[in-house]
Structures are given as C-alpha cells and as structure tokens.
C-alpha cells in the first residue's frame, strides 16, 4: 500500500539550517547535509529544503546546498523558497531537486504552475500555501493565503486557491498553517479537512505538529504526508521513534 510520508523540513539560510516561530526569530541549528543524512538513515520518506534567504547572492548558496544534499540523499528532495520563475525552478532541478515548491510567484501568477507542469511534469511541481485564519469575513472559507514568507495578506481564499492550483498543474500541496507553525499545538485540522476534502492531489500538512498524535490526526484529516522540523531538531525525537509511535497508533508507515 501507499504509505503516508514523514518529511523532515530543513529551513536553510546561508547554507545553515535555521528555525523560528511563526516565521520570526530564526536561529542557527546546524549543517543541512548532517541533518539530511541522519534523517534518511532514520527512515525519512523524503526531505524538504526551504531556502529562507532573501537575496540573490544567497540563492547561489542555496543551489550549492541542493547539490550537496543530492550527493548524499537516495530519497526524494523537494526544494522551495524564492522560486520566482521557470528559470529558478529549472536551476533547482538541475542542481538535484526532485520537486520544486512555489509560493508567492504562483499565487500571483498561477499560469506559472501550468508552464512548469507542461515542461517538467506535474509530479515535480509543489504549490506551497501559507494560510492564516482571519475572522474578518474577507474569505468565504475563513482562511486566507499569505505570501512573502507569511507577511502579506493576499485576500485570496485559501480553499479556492488550493482548487485552482491543483487545476493549473500542481502535483502536490504543501499546506502550512501560519497560526499553528512553530507552536507545537498540533496541525490545523479544520484547514486540512477543508482543503484535502476538495482536491484530489496529495496534501502535505505543515505547521504545529509536535506529537505522534498530532501527526496521526493530520493523516486522518486527509493529509498524505506530514512535514516536521522542530519536533526533530530539538533532539527529543527521531524519525524512527516517530514512526514507531505512529505504528502503535495503527498508522501504517514505511519501516
């Protein structure tokens, strides 16, 4: 059977893994190749690397990190962060990414998804959605898409956008709850249900997972994969221990 995926996420800036809360106060926690190697050995199903640099000179550093990760990884590598154009995506794939995740650029211009899917196939195009609950009534579902690393409200309904991204050629969604990210309070289950329930491409749940029960709840809500970072970086859990806990909760994962 197709097993749900446990995907460690590396937020990388200047060739180093960093971690913050609600996208703020980033602190340096280590070398991406060391982290990725350890995660693969421990049973990670895939690795996501998000380049959280802001400037163009940092972009080439990110490409070097992708090359270094590719040399050691024999599992899939998804890379996102600052992918603005077809040439950005192409450069990441050439460097060794198996999939690219787009965010701001394809929220502004979903046709970019179509162009990339036509060229590279939808299976390597991931739409990242940073969603935030706003009780202002500005979106029908209650969740709005934020861009620019979670700082700008687009006023676009997150559920509507998820549907259109899937229709435009995204092969997968990486759905992050800004409200839950880094809090350890669990994934945003109502958000996951709202989106996984109306599209047929896989959804990766992101933001807030701290315990095996949180991971199981996200998978139960329709996620095909869960993204985890803090829960692993702090050293209290390993991918293997999380998978054992999931097995104990009757979630069948790849051993």
């Amino acid at each position: 059977m197709l097993t749900p995926r446990l995907i460690p996420c590396l937020d990388v800036r200047d060739g180093r893994v960093v971690k913050g809360i609600n996208f703020q106060n980033l602190r340096n926690v280590g070398d991406p190749v060391d982290f990725a190697t350890k995660y693969e050995a421990s049973g990670a199903d895939e690795i996501v690397m998000l380049d959280v640099s802001a400037t163009s000179e940092h972009r080439s550093a990110a490409l070097n990190t992708v090359r270094a990760l590719r040399r050691v990884l024999s599992i899939p590598l998804t890379v996102g962060g600052g992918v603005r154009s077809e040439s950005d995506a192409s450069a990441l794939l050439d460097a060794g990414a198996d999939k690219v995740a787009l965010n701001t650029a394809s929220v502004q211009s979903p046709i970019l998804l179509t162009r990339l899917a036509n060229r590279f196939g939808c299976q390597c195009i991931v739409q990242a959605i940073d969603a935030k609950r706003l009780d202002t009534g500005s979106s029908a579902s209650g969740w709005t898409v934020f861009t620019h690393a979670g700082t700008r409200d687009t006023n676009i309904d997150a559920v509507d956008f998820a549907r259109s991204a899937a229709g435009c050629g995204a092969g997968e969604l990486l759905l992050t709850s800004i409200d839950h990210d880094g809090t350890g309070s669990g994934f945003d289950i109502p958000l996951l249900r709202a989106i996984a329930g109306i599209i047929d491409i896989p959804v990766i749940a992101s933001g807030g997972g701290r315990t095996p029960q949180h991971l199981a709840a996200a998978l139960d809500a329709g996620a095909s994969a869960v993204l985890v970072a803090t829960i692993l970086h702090d050293g209290h859990n390993t991918v293997a221990s999380l998978k054992q806990s999931l097995q104990a909760l009757n979630v069948k994962v790849r051993a």
């Binding site: 059977m1 060794g96 990414a97 491409i201 095909s224």
Partner: protein, 223 residues
C-alpha cells in the same frame, strides 16, 4: 562502469547521476543515437509528458537506436516515464506511438478513487507468475511519482519478470528481461532497495560487457 544517460530534455538527471556515482560509476549524458546504440550501459530517464518525450526521441533518432539496443539485449534501464515510453501508447498523449518494446497502454489512475499523482512509497512484490530476474528481494518499498500506469492481467507478459504494486488495483511496478530493466518507480530515490536494484542491473551490465569482450576476443583469435 560508465553509464550513459539519455538527455530527454525535461528530466532532472541529477538524482540518477548521483545514484550511479554512489555506486562508483562515471556518468555522462547524451543526445546522440550512436552513443545510445553503442554505449555499454544506457539509462532512459523520464519526467515530463509522454507526447513531447516521444517526439524528442524521434527528432534525435534515438527511438530506432533504443529499439535496436534493446533487441540486441544491451544493458538498458528505463525509469518512470521511461518505462511508459517502451509501451505502445499512453492515455496522456492520445495518438502518439510509443516504442512498442512491450505491448500495452499507460492509463491514468482513477482520480475519483485515489489521489493522483500516485506519490510516495508503495510496496512492490515479485510476481510469482513471471520468470526470475535477480531482484534483490521479494518484497520491498519503492518511491513512485506517477499519474499513469500499466495495468495488465498477470500472465499476459509471460516472458517478462515483473514487480507489481497496488493503487486502485494492481499495476506493473517494474519489468525485466535479460539486461533490460524498466521501473515505474524511481530506483535512484528508493533508498537501500533502489541502491541494491541498481547494483543488480550493473552486475548484469558488467557481465554483458565481459561477454561482448570475450566474443570479440574469440572472433579476433579466429582471424
């Protein structure tokens, strides 16, 4: 061993190259039909769509080189879309003829029943109906990323050794015969299992190269 990877234009070749480099092989890419015909070990990778990929193979005249190579049992590895290109056709690009190395049409997974693409790790099993190929194991997990698949009634490919998998029904995860291996999954992304599968294929390729060499030696000694 030297591995020649066909540049299909849309594929990211870095993962395939990295996997073979971890197996101490040197890799090069090619767009030349002569290389495809003569190289000791050739990989047909594949991402992108069936129609444009076939068009490119035809434009480069690699289609005939591949057919000749495979009919001569020269070591060839087809990955993902590469497997589908060996079929007659695909629903993805109606009216486009494939390489017809084996009969069949790739059809789309039913997206009313399962999420598509079929993305992630799925169990693959050696089909007991088929003749043995030196698979590293009888059952394993492999990484897939595909929207189309070859579903066949077992027994209709009697001379091929098969791995099968389940997703909205049984489909072909890999087929092999002699020194041809075609995988719907990505061996280069399938961890330890993928590594050992590539190693098996390399062993066969090396034996094949030695066989060629000894055949040439025999011919030379006759002169």
């Amino acid at each position: 061993m030297h591995i020649t990877i066909i540049n299909t234009g849309a594929a990211n070749l870095a993962s395939v190259r990295a996997a073979f480099e971890r197996l101490n092989c040197r890799t090069q890419t090619t767009e030349a039909p002569d290389d495809v015909l003569a190289a000791p070990a050739v990989v047909l990778p594949g991402v992108g769509a069936f129609g444009p990929a076939m068009q490119r193979l035809r434009d480069l005249r690699i289609d005939t080189a591949l057919r000749a190579r495979i009919s001569g049992n020269k070591p060839t590895l087809a990955i993902c879309l590469g497997l589908q290109l060996l079929l007659d056709a695909s629903e993805e690009s109606p009216g486009v003829a494939g390489l017809s190395i084996i009969p069949g049409t790739a059809v789309k997974f039913p997206n009313n029943a399962v999420r598509v693409p079929h993305m992630g790790w799925n169990t693959v099993r050696v089909s007991t109906d088929a003749p043995a190929w030196p698979w590293p194991t009888l059952i394993a997990d492999a990484y897939f990323a595909n929207s189309y698949r070859l579903s066949i009634a077992l027994g209709t490919m009697p001379e091929w050794s098969l791995l099968t998998s389940e997703y909205a029904g049984t489909f072909v995860a890999a087929f092999a015969r002699g020194s041809l291996l075609a995988c719907q999954f990505h061996p280069e992304l399938s961890g330890a299992f993928g590594h050992s599968l590539l190693q098996r294929w390399l062993d066969i390729a090396k034996a094949n190269a030695l066989g060629d060499q000894s055949m040439r030696d025999t011919e030379l000694s006759r002169c």
